[in-house]
Amino acid sequence: MTVAGSEVLGLLDNEYEPVQIGNQIIESNVPVLVCRSSDVAAVVHGSAVIVDGDTYAVREVRKDGTGITELVLTESA
């Protein structure tokens, strides 16, 4: 997979997380890429992520302080 133009190792998770808006539930999944923080230190919001030919954009960077970073992704055109 490629993150911000660099090849990195990571694990893509795409868990079901329904969105509640008003009193209506809408089915949804949230793609999260788990990586070593040192591999994605340069990532910023909007950085491109390509996994198996699918393109995403980083919308949230979660550094856990132990060397692991979760990149929360959104689909990208």
């Binding site: 795409n14 997380e17 329904p18 969105v19 808006i21 008003g22 209506q24 539930i25 809408i26 089915e27 949804s28 999944n29 949230v30 793609p31 919308r59 992704l73 959104t74 689909e75 990208s76 055109a77």
Partner: protein, 140 residues
């Protein structure tokens, strides 16, 4: 059939086939919506106030008719909501049996928790209609 149901079903019919939402119109939707079903519209009949009139058992009824539009888009999701609102306001100007149909409020909600922004727009109409006491199935 209560007049509430008849009014709601008439609204669903009037809102089916609009430019933005097409046939994706749901009557009293309770279960989750799938991503593939968006953009869509849901229709509900909500709170109602009833005033007995001085004239022989006539009931004046003011009911909230709630139309919610949902959209999912990478960009411009609020534009889609506004298109839904334009479609709904244009299509829902009158309903058989309803004396006055007035749009009262529009509210929007945006959510960025999913893999793509999802948003909702709620149009609340007041539908005023009359029935005879003991005959709620016939709007007069």
């Amino acid at each position: 059939m209560h007049a509430r149901q008849a009014i709601r079903e008439a609204a669903v019919t009037a809102l089916t086939g609009l430019t933005t939402t097409g046939s994706r119109v749901y009557d009293s939707r309770i279960f989750p919506l799938s991503e593939a079903s968006l953009p869509c519209i849901t229709v509900y009949t909500a709170d109602e106030s009833i005033e007995p009139q001085a004239i022989g058992g006539l009931m004046s009824r003011q009911m909230d008719l709630v139309v919610r539009g949902y959209a999912r888009a990478l960009t411009g999701v609020e534009d889609v909501l506004d298109s839904i609102a334009e479609d709904v306001e244009t299509a829902l100007t009158s309903i058989a049996g309803v004396k006055y149909l007035v749009l009262r409020t529009i509210e929007t909600e945006l959510d960025g928790e999913g893999d793509m922004p999802i948003a909702a727009i709620t149009l609340t109409f007041t539908a005023e209609y009359y029935t005879d006491a003991g005959a709620p199935g016939t709007a007069i």
